[in-house]
Amino acid sequence: MFERAYDIVIIGSGAGGGTVAQELAPLCREGVRIALLEKGPRLSDDEFSGREFEMAQVLYEDGGGFLTADGSMTLAMGVGYGGSTTVYTGTSIIAPERVIQGWNVPDLGFEEIDRRSRKFMEQNNVHFLEDGQINANNQLFVRGCRRLGYGVEQFPVNLNGCKGSSLCNLGCPNQAKQGTNRVQLPRAEREGVEVVTGCEALRIDGQTVLARVAARPAGAKGQPSPWEVGEYRISAKIVIVCAGAVNSPALLMRSRLPARLPRLGHGLTCHPALILVAEHERRITNFVGHPKSYYLDQFVESDGFILETCMYFPFTTAKSLSGFGEPHSQFMRAFPRLQMILVLACDHVDSRNRVTIDGDGRPVVHYRFTPAVKRSLARGTVTSARIFFAAGAERVHVPAAEVTTVKRERAEDLEKIVDERYFRSGSVSVSAAHIQGGCGMGLTAGDSVTDSWGRVHGAPWLFVADASLFPDSVEINPYLTIMALADRVAQRIRQDASDLLS
């Protein structure tokens, strides 16, 4: 067992951990020792190959196929230097005011989230792509929406030098996306924060983090961990957990903490999503260009769904199509003519949906689709199909139906064809990448895990700074909100540094 001592240990390097590292880095000038532990590897620029299986195995937990307890949904969680900010599409949206108000967290208002989000929008070069950079897959979505009178919106994105590889979700091969791996972590390291990749935090025992650097398989991607293989006891005056909404609660459950936290793991939401596919007569540009440039959120309040453009890779697409055999293959053979839309359900906290751990301490995610979520996904499917047809598609794949291919001539029957009763585990492929909650903010241990500054109730030296803080769904792509909250947590730690570090 190796021993290490730091003043501050940060666990995780995604939107939360990267932000906290940057914001606390100036303390290094005063002699404060800060380490950031990241479970995954740090890849060299030339290791981002864009190959689906290869990159998914390296940059996602369980290769992107982390299963919920009943096997009805897969969760995509990024690992490695930059966490999920390495594999998102860079869409940068400020949380809606009504959502922040609805969270009802003491001392946390929309104005503060807005102000802090804008700080990171500027830092991450968030802007709108020019018309010439929008590919046909996105243009068709806009055309379909406008023909139907829908209020389609363009995503601001955090890109710098985008070449349109379309490979965002496999890690940008051109380093154009301004995730924490490109912006906040390098800044933190320049200031003196020590980033230790390949180092997994196993549990927290008092103010000591127990961690492991595992041996790398031969030929594995990424640089070796800067620490040698073995188990570590790392003492710290402050510990900040930023391992994401599944791994943060799981880590705290494995830990010996001075407080009882009955709400730990509860309040999980994830925006369950369907990837929908439609076939056009002619070839369209789909796997060249930024994949996610537009969205439609006008149905959030009435029907609980958001639509976003998307473009996925062969296996992910194949998995998302229901059925098998020749009808399935027909869609796959039409790949260069496919248009895609992502339907995200804005789920809400449900007492059955939560994180626990199994006998080996591995996280287990319990998630049941509520009737409201099934209805949202069905309504989102019907609306998407209308958009596809309005954009000129010939055939649309609708997973929640008895017959899953709808031809143009049956477009009028969509309401009858798509039905939430076909929404059954194992019949429809559902995935989620916006996992939130599990260490929710609130007033006391009776209603939450942390206070509004991310401080764990009953453990003044222990903080959380990631999407697990969300008391309910954010109803939009979450990374800017995570950064805003992490910025706030870091501010509190800086303010209290003299007490906490003494």
Binding site: D70, K163, F287, E326
Partner: protein
């Protein structure tokens, strides 16, 4: 990078390899044209994806493949690998729409592995016209 089977991982599928291959051929009809190299690559991808997954999941996969091989005897008097392609498809369709969540989810998992192995290969991506280039617009 091409995934290579290892001694350790090869044990996950090996006991039921003929059944798994029969499932893949039914799920993706194009797999009938695969040569030995293609199958080897497909199976290596599946093995690699299973590596590091909980042992319980690996056990359930083996059990599901075993059941899938023998259950058709009740209906067709033959094991799954002995059925013609039409009956294989009909049997798998029954699993996909089965009233039991457990059976449907089990089949979904197996179908996912078959699709991962087939479409995870570079050759399959090329064959369906998917050929992204990191240079993006510049290369198109």
């Amino acid at each position: 990078m091409t995934a290579q089977p290892t001694t350790e991982t090869a044990t996950i599928l090996r006991p039921a390899l003929p059944v798994f291959r029969a499932v893949v051929r039914t799920v993706v009809p194009e797999a009938k044209a695969l040569d030995d190299t293609g199958w080897s690559e497909l199976e290596a991808l599946v093995e690699e994806s299973l590596l590091g997954r909980p042992r319980g999941l690996q056990r359930r996969l083996r059990l599901f493949l075993l059941l899938l091989q023998w259950l058709p005897i009740l209906r067709y008097g033959r094991r799954f690998t002995g059925l013609d392609s039409r009956r294989r498809a009909r049997f798998l369709s029954g699993l996909q729409h089965h009233r039991s969540d457990l059976i449907r989810v089990g089949f979904w998992g197996l179908r996912t592995l078959a699709l991962l192995g087939y479409y995870g290969r570079g050759a399959a991506a090329q064959a369906i016209g998917y050929h992204p280039d990191p240079r993006g617009w510049e290369a198109s």
